[in-house]
Amino acid sequence: MDQLEKLKNVWKDQSESTIKFTESDIYNMVHQRSSSIVKWILIISILEFVLPNLFILFSDFESTKTVYQNYGLNDSMLVYTIIHVIVILGFIYLFYKNYKNINAECSVKDLLHNILKTRKTVKYYIYYNLTMAAIIGIHVFYIVFNSEQFINKLPTNTSMVMIWLVAIGIFAFFLFLFWCFYRIIYGFFLKKLKNNYAELQEAE
């Protein structure tokens, strides 16, 4: 008989676990706090939705409004804000829909898929924010750098190309730092789940 088949008999004959819980223990357990990652996915995802927008909300309104006024950016910023609100609501709806599908009764592969899909929603939301920040940044730079007020303040013989390069360089650097930081957290958090999903996907 195959070694593993013999071990099946050992397995079947195994005595009860040395750790044993009573009905009372189990009754108490169901009222305890879950340590499931689903809770953490929700908390971290809410923070990721809220924090980029808190930055906008808590920026200095009067000075920002003055800048927009001086450079004729009021209408553009209004359009960006409307687009942003619509997109956020869309992402929140998608996130909620995917989050509700996370349930421990489906197959192992489906659960892994649903968790990863939920996190992907947030990942695309972050990418959207970075892209919008880049678009708005370039738009604002273009308007400001081409305005008379700005050009008049510049020392003579200043290269506009250098100004663009420096502005875009610093902006891109901060966006890149944010992206790296986010990828590290995201990668670390989901590494085990992604590996398990890949294991199940293999040879399908």
Binding site: Q14, S15, S17, F21, I26, V30, S36, E105, K109, A203
Partner: protein, 164 residues
């Protein structure tokens, strides 16, 4: 959810807790982590219990939720688990016929299973529990063909660990 349902759940789980202990023993390597995982699996089973319609066997349903918890949902926490009664099986066995060989073999088997990856652990347990490939495929969410391929690979790996 009603107290009556809670009591029914606690009673059914108490009778079938062996299944969860087998999963816990395979996915953890110390008593604290074992109890912690047991509690998390219990919480997940309780959340899913009202929706359980009996369209699959209770044991199959328990295994599915237990594997999902161990593989995807469980995060180690620092909580301590209080129990009203814990007894040591080995002390009881002192006065009975005690097969040291079988106990050693079982210990080696659990150690070997623990050294597999998360998916392989599930496959090994399902093999030892004599589940059909159809059940295994359904539980893992893969095709039967893939289940057979993965099972053969896991069995080979297990044999190599047991016979270094």
């Amino acid at each position: 959810m009603s107290q009556e349902l809670e009591k029914k759940f606690a009673s059914e789980l108490e009778k079938n807790q062996g299944i969860i202990h087998k999963v816990c023993r395979s996915y953890t390597n110390n008593e604290t982590a074992h109890k912690d995982l047991f509690q998390e699996i219990t919480i997940q089973l309780w959340k899913a219990y009202p929706k359980f319609r009996g369209d699959s066997k209770f044991s199959t349903w328990m295994y599915r939720v237990a594997f999902n918890t161990a593989i995807s949902l469980y995060r180690k926490s620092k909580r301590s688990i209080e129990t009203t009664q814990i007894y040591d099986n080995l002390k009881e066995l002192e006065f009975q016929d005690y097969d040291d060989t079988k106990d050693q073999q079982l210990k080696l088997l659990y150690n070997a299973i623990y050294s597999l990856n998360d998916i392989e652990k599930a496959l090994a347990l399902l093999y030892l529990e004599d589940k059909s490939y159809k059940e295994i495929a359904g539980m893992l969410g893969i095709s039967e063909v893939n289940a057979r391929v993965k099972m053969n690979r896991t069995k080979t790996k297990l044999k190599n660990i047991l016979n270094p």
